[in-house]
Structure formats: structure tokens, C-alpha cells
């Protein structure tokens, strides 16, 4: 049985950031990876996907973007190259093709059952990602037979879809991107919209992520956020990683001919029924966007930047067609595919340590799993700050978690 001080599970950006922090502290460790480095990016993302964050912001511990397009957005292939290069550069002890089947509590820490061996470690860091499984609502079971169902994990491009209309359910970044791409390919798209986050790609000449960082919003700590549960479950903002498209919000989709309807409530006898709350859902998103833009403008004024930035302005409110249908007959042949852009969730089913809440999510305090000393988690939305949702959040998150882990090792030795 192999013994090590720390086992990191997952060689994505979070696991590798942690590996680097452990190396800095000379903590003996191994990184177990079910596939190759950056596996989810290689196998579970559609090729046209680009990061929401601009290149200059996509940092990892000890590494900054050094390419010639700091204001661009990495495509999936670039993300794979970046993460793979990082693994090599930091000399991370990654064992690829090593699927972890179980993690259990053991007298000296934890017992990890991997591909064909059992490892013992005093500490375990879970960095297996936030988006292993597609979170589909129960209504997905009621899609009538001739209509096919698809999740973004299996989606690659519109050519895999049968001819006909597509109902995209969910208006997060994933939903609006795929609705736009599929609609442009010639499949008429209907987009079912629940609670969503509207933001412009750029504002006053700067990328919205520049504003989110500059105003301090991304740095807001998890223990200072009023409603943490809500913050952790917020849909991703309606953004696309392209500079050409100023907005990929509902108004831009409507202008391109995508039909917007309310949240999908249920499907009865093949009839999809949508919520009549769409106007309020859109009003809430507009209000929230404007609250942030107000904060951005106030910050710009206080920081004395009004002279060098273009003047403030506001975006047109989200248009909701008063004739928006409340029902759609899925048996009529008009819709041939339903795409469930209803979010993702981590897969921690292999974790045999009782640390999950009733919804199957790990209970943790900023990445420290308090119910199981020595167990840590990284790479989840708003783990320690609002930046944790994005790649660069791992820079400070891994630092904090590694520091806690280091102290834990010391206290156990005494």
C-alpha cells in the first residue's frame, strides 16, 4: 500500500494549482487523474466554447498569460494546452488514467482506492470539478418519445442534431451560447428562460471581468456574502467569449430570431408549459445588472477614472413579447430536440466519507471539510471568493487551502 502525505484528486486547473502549493511547502503528494490532464476540457466541452474570462485574467499560481492576445478568450483547445503546459512546468506528480473508486476515512487519515491499488494519505484534496454531471430537472423524464434529449456534456455542434426545432432549457452562459450557435446553424430555437444573470461583454470600453475585478466584486469572500447558498447556485452570466458580440443577452437572441419563453414548468401529454413569470424574471435580471453598473460607475468616479473612460450609459431593458406563448406542443414535430442547459453538478458519489448535505453537496467552510479533518475541496463556485468560480480563483484558494492543510499536518504530528 502506497503511503503519501497528500492525495489530490483531479488534474485540472484546481488540482494542479494545489499540487504547486504543496510542492512549495515540500509536502509529499500525488495527483490522481481519471483520464489525461485537463480531462473534462478534453472530453466534456463543446469545441466552440471559450472561457468567459479574458486571457489576462486567466492566471494560475506562478503563471500569467504570456501570449499576444491578452484581451482574447481561450478556446477549449487553448485551455487544454495551457493546463497541460502548467502541469509540465511545475513538475506535478500526476498519475493519469487512474480513476478513484472510493475515498474512506482511515486511522491515519484516508484510504484511497484508485485504479488497481490502495493509497493511504493523511490528507485528501478533492479537485474533480464542479461540472461532472448535467443537472437535469425531473421534467426531463416527460419529454415525449420522438423528441430527443441532450445535455451540454454530450453536445458538440449543431450537425449532431436531427433536422427541426430545438428547445433549449436554461439561459445561463451555456444556454445562450448554444441557443445562438444552434439557431445560426438553421435549427429554429426556442429558449426557456428562468432566473438568469444579464451582463454586457464590455462596458465603457472595458471587459466586464475587468469591472468585476476592479470593483472588488470578485474578491468578495464567501463568509461575507449575505446569501451564500444563493451565490453558489447562481446561473453563469449570459456572456460569450467573443469581442465581436457586445452582448449575448436575451435581446440579442430575440433580434436574431430566437423565440424566448418562460421557465419550463412541466410537460403534460407532450405539452410543454412555461411560466408566466418571464417579465419579472427579466426585470430582476435588468435590475441586478443595473445595480452592478451603478457600482461600477461609482467606483470609476471614486477612483478618478471618469476622465479616461467613455461616459456611463445603460442598456435597453429586456424585451418580452406580450404574445409569448405559455405552451408548446412537443408532439407536433416542430421541436425535435430538447437541450438541457440547466446547470451542472459535481460528482462525489465515490466519496465514502459522510460529509454531504441532503442534496448530495459537500459541506465545507471555504474548502475546508470541517466534518472530516484533513479533507479539502477546491474548484467549486464561490468556494472562498466570487472568483473561485473562475480559473484564476484557484490562485488564492489553493494558497488558503494549502496553508490550512499544512497547519493540520503540524497539529496532527504533535
Amino acid at each position: 500500500m502506497m503511503q503519501t502525505t497528500a492525495v489530490v484528486i483531479g488534474a485540472g486547473h484546481a488540482g494542479l494549482a494545489m499540487s504547486r502549493r504543496l510542492t512549495e511547502r515540500s509536502i509529499d503528494h500525488v495527483v490522481l487523474e481519471r483520464g489525461e490532464v485537463a480531462n473534462s476540457w478534453r472530453t466534456q466541452r463543446w469545441p466552440s466554447l471559450r472561457l468567459l474570462t479574458p486571457n489576462w485574467q486567466t492566471r494560475l499560481p506562478g503563471q500569467r498569460y504570456a501570449g499576444d492576445d491578452p484581451d482574447g478568450y481561450m478556446a477549449v483547445a487553448d485551455v487544454v494546452t495551457t493546463i497541460t503546459g502548467y502541469a509540465r512546468e511545475i513538475g506535478s506528480p500526476v498519475r493519469t488514467a487512474t480513476t478513484v473508486h472510493a475515498v474512506r476515512a482511515a486511522p491515519q487519515g484516508f484510504e484511497i482506492q484508485a485504479a488497481d491499488e490502495v493509497l493511504c494519505a493523511r490528507t485528501v484534496v478533492l479537485a474533480t470539478g464542479a461540472a461532472n454531471l448535467a443537472a437535469t430537472p425531473r421534467v426531463a423524464d416527460d419529454v415525449p418519445a420522438p423528441v430527443s434529449s441532450l445535455t451540454p456534456l454530450a453536445y458538440r455542434d449543431p450537425s449532431q442534431l436531427p433536422d427541426g426545432g430545438v428547445l433549449v432549457v436554461g439561459a445561463s452562459a451555456t444556454g445562450v451560447q448554444l441557443a445562438g450557435e444552434i439557431h445560426r446553424s438553421g435549427h429554429p430555437v426556442t429558449l426557456a428562460v428562468g432566473e438568469h444573470v444579464r451582463l454586457p461583454r464590455t462596458y465603457r470600453g472595458r471587459d466586464i471581468f475587468w469591472w468585476l475585478e476592479a470593483t472588488g466584486l470578485l474578491a468578495e469572500r464567501y463568509d461575507q456574502i449575505d446569501d451564500l447558498t444563493r451565490a453558489r447556485h447562481l446561473p453563469s452570466p449570459q456572456l460569450t467569449g467573443t469581442r465581436e458580440a457586445a452582448m449575448t443577452d436575451l435581446n440579442s437572441l430575440t433580434a436574431h430570431g430566437v423565440r424566448i419563453v418562460g421557465r419550463l414548468g412541466r410537460i403534460v401529454d407532450g405539452l410543454a408549459q412555461f411560466s408566466g413569470s418571464l417579465p419579472n424574471t427579466c426585470a430582476l435580471a435588468d435590475l441586478k445588472m443595473n445595480r452592478f453598473l451603478n457600482r461600477a460607475d461609482e467606483w470609476a468616479t471614486t477612483s478618478g477614472l471618469d476622465g479616461e473612460l467613455p461616459p456611463p450609459h445603460r442598456f435597453a431593458p429586456t424585451y418580452v413579447d406580450p404574445r409569448t406563448p405559455l405552451e408548446l406542443d412537443l408532439t407536433s414535430g416542430e421541436i425535435t430536440t430538447v437541450l438541457w442547459a440547466t446547470g451542472f453538478r459535481p460528482d462525489h458519489t465515490w466519496l465514502d466519507v459522510p460529509v454531504c448535505d441532503r442534496t448530495g453537496r459537500i459541506r465545507h467552510d471555504g474548502g475546508v471539510v470541517t466534518d472530516a479533518p484533513g479533507l479539502y475541496v477546491l474548484g467549486l463556485p464561490v468556494l472562498r471568493t466570487r472568483a473561485s468560480t473562475y480559473i484564476h480563483g484557484a490562485v488564492t484558494d489553493s494558497q488558503a487551502v494549502a496553508s490550512h492543510l499544512h497547519t493540520h499536518l503540524g497539529s496532527r504530528r504533535r
Binding site: 418562460g262 421557465r263 414548468g265 412541466r266 403534460v268 408549459q273 411560466s275 408566466g276 413569470s277 419579472n280 426585470a283 430582476l284 435590475l287 443595473n290 445595480r291 441532503r358
Partner: protein
């Protein structure tokens, strides 16, 4: 200048609501509520509904008193108009729910309310309920609610207040989303 810093008071015990939220998150089964009403036919289209008990917080609960509601149709429907119509009770429910929400959210956001008035309308073509036109639905085509709010807050804050009250309203959810309804004969 001695304007006393009077605490914002809309008569809503926000602390109790926040405490309840925390306690019920830890004991989710206590958060299961069943609301009840019973209705007895009088004559014609006139009925009387009563509301007294409900289940929640893991036990049987009682209102302070039994509330009674006469339900009827108006005289232009050849009825006796002994009470509001059922569809008007739906409007009453929605208006009451949204207004309670406005007060609660205002309290939570430290907004002092001076007056809140909601006028609510439901548009309906009665050819649907008369069975005269299969293309006309029975229920409302649309409902409009108009809030007149006097408060120590900007227009934007008041709009946000009203939007948030819709977001957290049970009746708003009931009328905007499909609900499973089971009607059986005992």
C-alpha cells in the same frame, strides 16, 4: 439638525423570518406545510368557505379564529351576489401575497413604507367558461397588478422591491406556473 434615527418599522418581524429560515434549513421536514379550506354549498352559485386549521412546523396549527368567505356570482350572471366571485378571490390572494412580500422585503432592506396600494385586474373572455368558443380558455388571459408605493426609497429601489416580492411569492408562483391538481369524490 436633530432628526432622530428612528428604526425602520413596517410591522414585519424580519428577525423571526430569518431565524425560521435558518432553523428550517436544519430541519427541512418541519418546513412542510399543508394549507386547507373547506367549502359548503348554500344554494345556487352561493357557497361558504371556511379556513381555520393548517399543518406546519411538524404539528397541527390553528388560526386565531375561523375565517369565513361567501362566494357567489354577480347579478348579471343571474345569481344573487352573496359574495365575491371565485376569480376575484384569486386576485385577492395574489394581491395579499405580493403586498405582504413588499412589506417584508422593505423591512429587510431597511426601507420605511408609508403607504402601499395594489390594484389588480384579471382579464377574461367568458365565452370560455360558457363553453361557447373552444379557442377561448376558461381562466384569465392576463393579470395586471399596479402598485402605488409611498416610501423612503428611490424609484429603482421600489421597483426592485416589487420584483423581489414576486420572486418570493407563493401565489404568484401558483398562478404563473403549472400545478398538479387532483380532484376526487370521497
Amino acid at each position: 439638525m436633530t432628526i432622530t434615527d428612528r428604526p425602520i418599522d413596517n410591522g414585519v418581524n424580519v428577525q423571526a423570518l430569518l431565524d425560521a429560515r435558518e432553523a428550517l434549513s436544519a430541519a427541512p421536514e418541519a418546513a412542510d406545510f399543508t394549507w386547507r379550506a373547506s367549502c359548503t354549498w348554500r344554494t345556487g352559485t352561493h357557497s361558504r368557505s371556511t379556513v381555520s386549521g393548517f399543518t406546519g412546523l411538524g404539528t397541527e396549527q390553528e388560526h386565531r379564529t375561523t375565517y369565513e368567505f361567501d362566494v357567489d356570482h354577480p347579478e348579471c350572471f343571474a345569481s344573487e351576489d352573496n359574495g365575491a366571485t371565485p376569480v376575484e378571490y384569486v386576485l385577492v390572494g395574489l394581491a395579499g401575497c405580493l403586498t405582504a412580500g413588499v412589506a417584508s422585503v422593505a423591512q429587510l432592506r431597511d426601507i420605511q413604507l408609508r403607504s402601499v396600494t395594489a390594484t389588480i385586474e384579471g382579464q377574461m373572455n367568458i365565452l370560455g367558461i360558457l363553453g361557447a368558443d373552444p379557442d377561448v380558455r376558461n381562466g384569465f388571459d392576463a393579470i395586471t397588478v399596479r402598485f402605488l408605493i409611498d416610501a423612503d426609497a428611490s424609484r429603482e429601489d421600489i421597483e426592485a422591491l416589487v420584483a423581489q416580492s414576486q420572486k418570493r411569492s407563493a401565489v404568484y408562483d401558483i398562478v404563473t406556473n403549472p400545478t398538479k391538481v387532483l380532484v376526487e369524490v370521497a
